[in-house]
Subunit: 279 residues, 2 copies
Amino acid sequence: MKGPLLVILLYVSQQVRRGAYVHGYHHRENDRLQDQAGTLVAYPPGSVVLEAGCGIGAQTVTLAQRSPDARFTSVDVSADSVAQAKRTTDAAGITNVQFQQADIFALPFAPESFDHVFICFVLEHLSRPAEALTILNRLLRPGGTITVIEGDHGSTCFHSDSGAARMAIQCLVESQRLAGGNALIGRQLYPLMVEAGLEAIRVSPRMVYVDSSRPDLVDGFTRKTFTAMIEGVRESAIEAGIIDREAFDAGVRDLHRTTEADGVFCYTFFKGVGEKHKS
Amino acid sequence: MKGPLLVILLYVSQQVRRGAYVHGYHHRENDRLQDQAGTLVAYPPGSVVLEAGCGIGAQTVTLAQRSPDARFTSVDVSADSVAQAKRTTDAAGITNVQFQQADIFALPFAPESFDHVFICFVLEHLSRPAEALTILNRLLRPGGTITVIEGDHGSTCFHSDSGAARMAIQCLVESQRLAGGNALIGRQLYPLMVEAGLEAIRVSPRMVYVDSSRPDLVDGFTRKTFTAMIEGVRESAIEAGIIDREAFDAGVRDLHRTTEADGVFCYTFFKGVGEKHKS
């Protein structure tokens, strides 16, 4: 597989798209991270697949390259993102993806148009995630599958443990809630997929575990992805009165402490796969 | 493998040994749970292995059965536990284990006596866990390995999320701290093993993920292991003034909520393997 972009990079890019400031990130350990996040998905030849919420196409590249004989339709609510996704896949020489600007809640497709649906790091930003899944389920042929991948900002576990760091993380959770989203959605995939009428649902957690024996992850994940994401809500959280400046900065300092030689940081992604009723 | 006892059962038994009340538990999904907790370990024929802190021998049975041509020495600080462990392994027809009552901090073995050391759900109860690992490291031959397995009560992640439930869990963390132990030790295996002078350390997390599609785990793990363990500190936590009765009971009710049809519960075990310096 040539140059697949990191799922983490996609994640960062989605946060950037939504206004959070994030430092630069170097591409490394791609497969391992993608595998850990559960985003390495392959579809059979001939499959017709909808990618709902493709963003700037980081994930689209990997999807299309891993399933060269499947046909993808990738949609995003942002026309700018769709245009950038198209440039990215064109540059990668990918020819099995069609792009379209569309809102998940108003998709221009007939029922049962797709064999499979893939939706990654999207539900966390929607105020009606179960309704979105219900709509996507309708677009599936009987027996088709939906694959859903989400993080969960409340799943973090780190050493040294720190109440201040947990409060800083809570600022992102609260900010996302105020914006109509849900930063704790990973753990909820199962009930959401049940509510959407999916069957044979299997949810599997994918923990990214980071200690100082894995310096690329210390730098790329703990420091430049997760902590940077938290730092990205500093101004808005202080402005919204969720936290004061000193408390927030103390929390971020403690998150950086987890990147030192004796530090440990864990974060869990959740992957859910469900089927549409067969008859 | 015939009738291996659950790692969870061992865990429960260790809590019982330490005074926490726990409901009965039915044996099911043995291999899957053991695999998830990372306790399925096999040693090469001829290996001489120390099991440090064998308790009542639940884990000893599995260890000895999976490595029938290794020789185990299993020790525990409690003579009663050792006697019960011997009865258990005798009943299982196991002949490759020697038992001995001994304190980890005063082990009657010469340096470099063992090829491997196995220590599971023990460090969480010690006030000097790194010192214990240092002592065990001394007993290893050069190039030998230590396998350490611990849970982490701060690693829980559940739906519906509940501050009250998190407070009730914190009572167990606090109780264990007051007793000289550390209920958040799982995430600390890496720095502890570094401090003990181990090399080539690899820590891997093992999450037990439970939703209502896995009724055996809902009952056996979330309800009868984890929540029961929390309920076990009710009186002592209230007596110690850590929490009041109403708040504790509200937390336990919310933990039980996670066992309903739309509930989800996650808990992470950590497994660390390190080597003794080769020369």
